[in-house]
Symmetry: C2
Subunit: 330 residues, 2 copies
Amino acid sequence: MGEFGLIKHLTKDIKPLQPSTKKGIGDDCAVMDFGTKRVLMTTDMLLEGVHFNLEYVPLKHLGYKAAVVNFSDIYAMNGTPTQITVSLGISKRFSVEDIEALYSGIRLACERYHVDLVGGDTCASMTGLTISITCLGVASAKDIVYRNGAKLNDLICVSGNLGTAYMGLQLLERERLANAEQPDFSGKEYLLERQLKPEARKDILEGLRKAGVKPTAMMDVSDGLSSELMHICSQSGVGCCIYEDKLPIDFAAAQLAEEMNLNIVTCALNGGEDYELLFTCSLDDYEKLIPVEDLYIIGHITKPEYGCNLIGRNGEEIPLKAQGWNAFQS
Amino acid sequence: MGEFGLIKHLTKDIKPLQPSTKKGIGDDCAVMDFGTKRVLMTTDMLLEGVHFNLEYVPLKHLGYKAAVVNFSDIYAMNGTPTQITVSLGISKRFSVEDIEALYSGIRLACERYHVDLVGGDTCASMTGLTISITCLGVASAKDIVYRNGAKLNDLICVSGNLGTAYMGLQLLERERLANAEQPDFSGKEYLLERQLKPEARKDILEGLRKAGVKPTAMMDVSDGLSSELMHICSQSGVGCCIYEDKLPIDFAAAQLAEEMNLNIVTCALNGGEDYELLFTCSLDDYEKLIPVEDLYIIGHITKPEYGCNLIGRNGEEIPLKAQGWNAFQS
């Protein structure tokens, strides 16, 4: 049934009872109205052996990433993250120093993004490490960007580059299997950083604000571009067309993909965990987008009957598939 | 080091960066100011094999309890729970029907307490079931009750009865070990209900509001009376004196304790998971407390140098120990 299918199934007929609930399940965050500003809320659970492998992920990096992916969800609604709570399930295998390292990463992320760690729960686990983080954020009601606002002819934009975090994971996995005493990561440090220590694209939102552009729909790319874009299109009731030659791809990532006989375009479409921002905005904003750094226009919104398609380098039309991150792991 | 020690150690020098953070770690909930009302936030993680045993806990009950214990934390600050997010780690051993049962319990609790389920995360787990719930609530700034407000001569009050949930667990465990085809719970249904399907004491807060009483300090009894009372005293800089013969004890619980050669007073002091409200209030409110149903005055606040003590039936003074729930499990 898959994660999205199961959540949808379990929550399909939930109706809000509280007047403060403005948006429940179905976007990057829930939205509440407690007074002058809207409050955003998002949560993520990370399980050892499923979401991370401590053989190659240092605990400090893991803590940093666990916090940042939550901040990214708040930014994806055009909000500002403000508080987190952290719940940990810890098995006996971990020392106090291990948990300090994990916390030091969480706290570093909090300092960098000006977020307060305000609570949590720590308990003994029979098995591995479990991390569950919930993040609150704020935004003015008029600033919030949902997934369902994409309109016909809107531009489709993405920040940074895609598939890079996935190639970082491939690199780590390759070196782990090679079992070398000194894994060789030279020249590929950026790929590792994208996998182990991603950043949330606060800077892009600042750039857009300065440029006077408000996206019509937005998500962060955690599962993969195809999957996220299909969410925006299905929730907005539109189709889309993106261009293979417009996809922003990192040179080192492309090089490693070639070495490893992987198709970098497939990685860019379906590799997860880039935490870049994917958004749509009005065609009228085209000129305003130009000065915003590290931002790429990759296509446009079409009528729903067109579906979601990639135009290949030779002009061929390929329907997008929401393979997402999980497809790569099986 | 223990849970409280570890959290304290890891978070000891955290300073809030966000003006909206009014209270961080150290109470039942964090408190934020996002506008007209204060927002409360609490989180709990439950791990299979640590916090619950699916051999005798039905999934629907587990879902109900997992939600209610979070509501209880919000009530313990004199707030009203409004929204929750639910994160689940699910192993392959669980069917869609199992997860539906778990969710039906969560949703029943939400309906009964008028709380909205607004988001979450569902992921595959390599091992057992993990449930992490975060709850938001609201309160006016002037209504919030912290742990640190107990004053000299304040009355110490507790709702319902104590040690009952613990005796329910003993009963379940006894029948499990006896391995009977038809476990015999007759006449003891209330003990089971207290363990499997606790309620948060919303009614007590309504009673206090109606009576015009605002507690000076409050907590819910999740770890055990001794442990919670020592938290209130250490955070308020006071001591306390409670009386053995004032402790509210359920008759069936006392009977079962006798059958099982357990000391019911020890169970009432240290057995966890009752989710009753423990609070202090001014001696001047004594008359006003009388009409509030299911509420018991068990002692009073003393000078800090007196420490935290129980006065036994024969007048003997016994220092309280924060054994808490964990002491019973080892």
